[in-house]
């Protein structure tokens, strides 16, 4: 019988980022990665945290390697943490801010990447406005360069999600069994999607998403998250509350009436936080909008771990860069031998 339909397309989409023997060679998404692999990332990051507290912070894992920061979308914060992470791994780092050209973007993108590959780059850290951009580069453009996804459209931001996992693990003694709520603009959030997959895989008891119907994506249950429209109900018995940044554009797109109404319904105040467990922690991927999604008293309060998240970011990025480089090298050398 003809075996035409989906024969290749239904395969596990996360396979692209793994070597033949199941190690990381790119880091594109948390979806489909095993609990063992996610835990290995967290353990490796933990080990780097101790090196970060030393006077000499560098380790030589990426010595002689060239890492290129390819940011097709601006982001000073994320780019800086990747830059620091690469430097602390002793890599050479090149920062490229590439405004997207208006015409034949695909072609421009490919030409740019091939040129960089020809300069013997070993790793691209990619941020791009299109969902799937990092996937596309890893699969179709430069598969022999390790690709680290630093955020693609609404799809994934896996290093942010992993630093969030590390934060939860360090502050809540593990992720298994925890109830986690993610609040706000889930629809446009690559961070939320990556968090949901990582939390489910690492054994969170429940992942809740809280927001108005306009900002919760259709069929979000299929990803393993439980939707709530009411903030207080959604926060009940939570161990972890993750607030997302609200972009101003949402008001113009008829997704929300006003910042004021959003804050009234979903802004994290001390009163609302009281619905969660008393020892619940509050997280935010930043940058925060005080008075829009979170009030200052909470952001700066005792339950907030927002600044800790930032300091773990470098360790997590060092971990995935080191692991992906090692996986990519072993894959390339085994292909050369074959």
């Amino acid at each position: 019988m003809t075996s035409l339909i989906h024969h290749e397309t239904l395969r596990d989409p996360s396979r692209v980022q793994l070597t033949d023997d199941g190690r990381l060679k790119h880091f594109l998404t948390t979806e489909g990665l095993s609990a063992e692999l996610l835990t290995e990332i967290l353990d490796t990051a933990d080990s780097f945290i101790s090196t970060q507290e030393r006077a000499v912070k560098k380790v030589p894992l990426l010595r002689g390697k060239t890492v290129v920061n390819l940011f097709f979308e601006n982001s000073t914060r994320t780019r800086s943490t990747f830059e620091l992470a690469a430097k602390r791994l002793s890599a050479d780092i090149l920062n490229l801010d590439i405004a997207r050209s208006a015409t034949s973007k695909g072609e421009t993108l490919m030409d740019t990447l091939w040129n960089l590959e020809a300069m013997y780059s070993d790793m691209f850290v990619v941020r791009h406005a299109d969902s799937g951009a990092a996937h596309f580069i890893a699969e179709q453009v430069t598969p022999n360069v390790a690709i680290i996804n630093a955020g693609d459209g609404r799809h994934a931001h896996p290093t942010q999600a992993m630093l969030d996992m590390l934060t939860i693990r360090r502050h809540k003694e593990g992720i298994a069994g925890k109830v986690v709520a993610i609040v706000g603009d889930i629809l446009h959030s690559r961070v939320a999607r990556s968090q949901i997959y990582a939390l489910r895989t690492l054994g969170a008891a429940e992942v809740r998403v809280i927001g108005p119907g306009t900002l919760l994506p259709k069929d979000i249950e299929a990803l393993g998250a439980k939707p709530f429209y009411d903030m207080k109900q959604g926060l009940a018995d939570c161990d972890v509350v993750i607030m997302l940044r609200l972009q101003k554009e949402r008001m113009q797109n008829a997704l929300l009436p006003s910042e004021g109404e959003f804050f009234k319904l979903y802004g994290l105040t001390e009163a609302k936080l009281a619905c969660a467990r008393p020892d619940a922690i509050v997280m935010h991927p930043g940058p925060i909008n005080r008075g829009v999604e979170i009030e200052s008293a909470v952001a700066d309060g005792p339950q907030s771990v927002i600044l800790n998240q930032v300091s773990y970011g470098i360790a997590v990025r060092m971990a995935v860069m080191a692991m992906a480089m090692s996986g990519q090298q072993s894959q390339n050398s085994s292909e050369e031998m074959a």
């Binding site: 019988m1 075996s3 035409l4 397309t9 695909g106 459209g153 994506p217 259709k218 069929d219 299929a222």
Partner: protein, 416 residues
């Protein structure tokens, strides 16, 4: 006189499916059955094990000429269509320049006369420049040779314009082909809105982008009495709405692209830009509803053929150009639906011959006296498709690398 002996003749127009001989004289069918005596047979062929079908008719494919010859030419794409079993194709008007003047229609017809491998039936633009604002000169365009008016998938936002163009076309009994798509609801989307778009983080196109627009079109059709054909239906709900409209006496036809019968949004997993098509691939429930409507004769099947050069598809999903090359091996590809038991052979052939012929009011079939536009098909030959087998310049074809059962042996295109 050409004779084909012992061939299985399948013609849903005559409710015929039997093994017979057929005689063709000067491009017209002389007779079927026993040839009798006294006829001079110059060429006789053994049709044993083969099927003879009326040539397939496409209600809408993109011929990239004029304007986009990097994607294909009238010659390359009609050659592909012929190899896929087609004898007639309706060419969509979104060429460059747009087919909104008689000069462009004539250009297409002249080019077709010298280079095309099948009958090219141009669809002219409904509105000038496909902009959805001013009516195109429908009567002049019809006289120049356009078989119907279409706005391709360019959206007519203004309900007033939609009403007036239907009224105007109805005055002259000019057929109007419309795609149902609401600009505001579809805005920014690049695939069906549902669990897969949520998972991939791709902006979605809700089913209501089609159904809201279709509701408006159906109400205006009722008011204006336009001779309407709905192109490229993709939602199960649309099938229901069309059925209700017909039950209320509206004379309306519709088609669905083959891709929407073959695939669902699951095909996009892994960001496969090949499956970035318009209308978008939708859910399994939608696909089943479309199949049922083809089975019952409510929907014709169109190709929605859209060849692209490699660079147009090699981009992150949302930036890849939508569309799939479909003409090459079209019939073997469509036959997979029959092999999988999802569609009866009769319904498939009817949806590709009888139904489109009635939309276009074409005389088409395998009865005596008709022009010989037919497809000789070997149902058993297995073939593995490689890019080098394709006639189309567009290599954005889903069958590349696949093994297909059945092969078009020859397509007869009448000169009359």
């Amino acid at each position: 006189m050409l004779q084909i002996r012992n061939v299985r003749l399948i013609d849903p127009a005559q409710h015929r499916d039997d093994i017979t001989d057929i005689l063709v004289d000067n491009g017209r069918i002389h007779s079927t059955g026993d040839a009798g005596s006294g006829l001079v047979i110059s060429e006789s062929r053994d049709g044993n094990g083969l099927w003879l079908l009326p040539g397939l008719i496409d209600l809408g494919g993109h011929l990239p000429e004029p304007g986009y010859t990097q994607k294909g030419t009238i010659e390359s794409e009609t050659r592909a269509a012929r190899s896929g079993g087609f004898t007639h194709i309706c060419s969509l008007p979104d060429t460059s320049p747009v087919a909104d003047t008689s000069a462009v229609i004539k250009l297409i017809l002249e080019k077709a006369a010298s280079a095309a491998q099948v009958h090219v039936l141009p669809l002219a633009a409904l509105t000038q420049g496909l902009a959805g604002e001013q009516l195109a000169s429908m009567v002049t365009l019809s006289e120049a040779g356009a078989v119907a008016m279409s706005n391709a998938r360019h959206i007519i936002r203004d309900s007033y314009v939609l009403r007036r163009l239907m009224e105007y076309a109805a005055t002259y009994d000019i057929p109007v082909f419309l795609s149902a798509n609401d600009a505001a609801l579809a805005a920014g989307g690049c695939m069906h809105e549902g669990p897969v778009s949520t998972r991939l983080g791709l902006p979605g196109i809700p089913a209501t982008a089609e159904t809201v627009s279709l509701a408006k079109i159906l109400l205006l059709a009722e008011q204006t009495g336009a001779r309407l054909h709905i192109s490229q239906v993709s939602c199960g709900r649309s099938v229901l709405m069309l059925r209700q409209a017909r039950e209320q006496g509206l004379n309306i036809t519709a088609d669905t692209p083959l891709a929407n019968l073959l695939y669902t949004h699951d095909a996009i997993l892994g960001y496969r830009s090949l499956y970035n098509v318009q209308p978008p691939l939708r859910t399994e429930e939608d696909r089943q509803a479309l199949l049922a409507a083809v089975e019952s004769g409510e929907l014709a099947i169109s190709s929605n053929h859209r060849p692209h050069e490699i660079a147009a598809k090699k981009a992150p999903f949302a930036e890849a150009r939508p569309g799939m090359s479909q003409y090459d091996c079209f019939l073997p590809l469509a036959m997979t639906l029959v092999h999988r038991g999802e569609l009866s052979l009769n319904a498939l052939i009817r949806a590709l011959t009888v139904l489109p012929a009635s939309v276009l009011r074409l005389q088409h079939g395998l009865s005596s006296g008709q022009a010989f536009n037919a497809c000789l098909f070997n149902p058993e030959t297995e073939q593995t498709i490689s890019a080098s087998d394709l006639y189309s310049q567009g290599h954005n074809h889903p069958a590349i690398g696949a093994s297909l059962r059945g092969r078009v042996e020859e397509v007869f295109v009448s000169q009359v």
